[in-house]
Symmetry: C2
Subunit: 344 residues, 2 copies
DNA sequence: GGTTAGCACTCTTCGGGAGGGAGTGCTAAG
DNA sequence: CTTAGCACTCCCTCCCGAAGAGTGCTAACC
């Protein structure tokens, strides 16, 4: 659709704009990238590219800026692939693949790393407990009316909540009930352990206030569909971007990002492809993110996609680096996670 | 030291400046606060207050602004006490005193609430595990070479880490070892469970790789003095303050706050008084925080101070509200925490 | 016919006054 | 001691002009 020279112009212009954040003029383009033609010719090409919607001008007599359509074309066809170098690689090995971490912590570390490496904000959706297999329940009395309920589920979920009862219970009560719950529930999919299921085994496992309290807590923790955890890291990086030199813009963006709900929407819009997905500006479903782009990738345990990790920055984003880094982190996160369950 | 009229002028001026963030002139002061004297008189008083260092002028022919010394006097002697109204009270009851939370989560919620209520950033130092009493250790096999180590300590600490061994272990191995560890360690102060102590009981409890791995993990988790957790919330609020309308300032402040180390310093400088402490501007030990004030208070379990919670904002801070709110939250947090251990 | 040099034109940005406004400090009178 | 009056200072805003960057068009060139 675009001839070779237009492609080269669009590529050079986008590269330049991504670097400088300033509208790019024909003279500059001719000087810095040897396109083999004069500024006048480039001007003609730029005018064509603008007519076709790949570029736009902030005002007459300014240089051009890629439009969302321009970025889209750049991302799909033009950009030079970027691969992590030694510093990025070693950071991933050091921080994501470090041992001794439960799954959620590992995922959280991956998000922090991604933010640091790209200098954008990073977002990550942690897997839902629902879909995982319950491995162990533990009841630890804190005092005679409070019990720590510890849940361990399959690929490395560990959660704890505190249950409170009116009538004192003993350590033996807790042990007996934990044994009963484990006998009947371990191996089940967490999402299937709803109130119904818990009511069914009430007779056998325990009855009494302790059972009811613990059961209620389990039901709400295990099968609450709104329990998706979303992390946001590196918000401070947003302030470094020249498009957010204005505090008001930065603030309104950050305000949007602070609502976990918005983040979930962003990540679900990104889909669950295992190859990095790029959402550019207006393609974004959320009003407040129309000047941002999101690069995200699913991560897996084995063949099963369990979450999404990505970066969020201005539309003028280093897409090549973002895509390369997201891919690398997602891959290694997946490998680290599968290692958590590999010997089963 | 200051006569009554000077006190009233300083008070009115500070109140006004805190509200408007604009230098306050004599005419304005005379109009808005009925001080019973003319602007000219107020001017004389203001000149005196400036000579004595309570005020300063950004430039000739601008109004006055309180200096750090002025704020200090205002905080110590002048400001009208502020007490939380129904909305603040109910928020505290709803969010801090809600049940089902482990201690650290409760503290974290208190910080979030404080940030929301004051519209400043909030900081909180969570108690050190070291000083608390170990209550329970649980070893849950995740697969045959990975074990979730769950620690429960006295006032509601729950932590988990994952230990990895080379030679497969069975569920029975774990149970046996957990029982042994509990028998020998429960009731001890966590900080006293160092490598020495763990080596002593090695013979009795378990030997072998499993013991060594778990022991190493316990030692690092229980007695690591650098493990103080510090939370920072409401950073976004900083951007609302007119003194941070300039992105660069906001960014450099937030960059300082993102280093947990700096936060620890701030909170330790605040001391551990149970009555709210105010640190104003230059009084702050940290270079980057010389234009900020911190209002903080210790919180307790029973009579023992276990941490510090506070808010951080520009020196032009609503001190009365900050102090009132910090006091209220710290008190209720202390009560909620003591409730965690009351039946022992 | 595509390419390029030349040029007039447009639009933003930046610096330098001018004018207005807020506030002060001083003086002298009450 | 207090206050009215007043000259003075300094900032802020607006406006203007110059500079600079970049364009689009035209006409010549290959």
């Amino acid at each position: 659709m675009l001839d070779e020279r237009k492609r080269r112009v669009l590529q050079a212009l986008t590269d330049d704009y991504i670097q400088t954040a300033e509208p790019v003029g024909s003279r500059n383009l001719a000087r810095k990238y040897n396109l083999g033609v004069s500024p006048a010719t480039i001007r003609n090409e730029m005018a064509d590219l603008e007519d076709e919607g790949y570029l736009h001008q902030p005002h007459t007599s300014a240089g051009r800026i890629p439009s969302d359509k321009g970025y889209r074309y750049y991302v799909d066809e033009l950009m030079a692939p970027w691969n992590p170098g030694p510093p990025e690689r070693s950071a991933v090995y050091r921080e994501v693949r470090a041992v001794g971490r439960a799954m959620e912590e590992m995922i959280h570390e991956a998000a922090k790393l991604l933010a640091r490496a790209t200098r954008y904000a990073s977002v990550v959706a942690a897997p839902r407990l629902e879909a995982s297999i319950l491995r162990h329940i533990d009841l630890v009395p804190l005092d005679d009316t409070r019990i720590v309920v510890v849940l361990v589920a399959d690929p490395g979920f560990v959660r704890h909540r505190i249950a409170e009862v009116r009538r004192p219970v003993t350590e033996e009560d807790c042990q007996r009930m934990a044994a009963g719950l484990n006998r009947r529930l371990v191996g089940m999919r967490c999402g299937d352990i709803g109130r119904d299921r818990l009511a069914e085994i009430r007779e056998e496992v325990g009855r009494g206030e302790l059972y009811d309290t613990v059961a209620e807590l389990l039901a709400s923790e295990l099968s609450d569909p709104s329990s998706e955890k979303v992390y946001l890291e590196g918000t401070l990086n947003i302030l470094e971007q020249p498009e957010f030199r204005d505090v008001e813009r930065a603030r309104s963006l950050l305000a949007v990002l602070e609502t976990k709900d918005a983040l979930s929407q962003v990540l679900s819009a990104a889909g669950r492809s295992e190859e990095p997905t790029v959402i550019i500006g207006q393609e974004n479903p959320l009003e407040g993110l129309r000047e941002c782009s999101v690069v995200s990738s699913a991560y897996r345990i084995g063949n099963e996609v369990i979450g999404v990790i990505g970066v969020l920055g201005p539309t003028r984003m280093e897409y090549a680096k973002a895509v390369g880094m997201v891919r690398y982190v997602a891959e290694h996160l997946s490998e680290a996670l599968v290692a958590l369950v590999r010997r089963r």
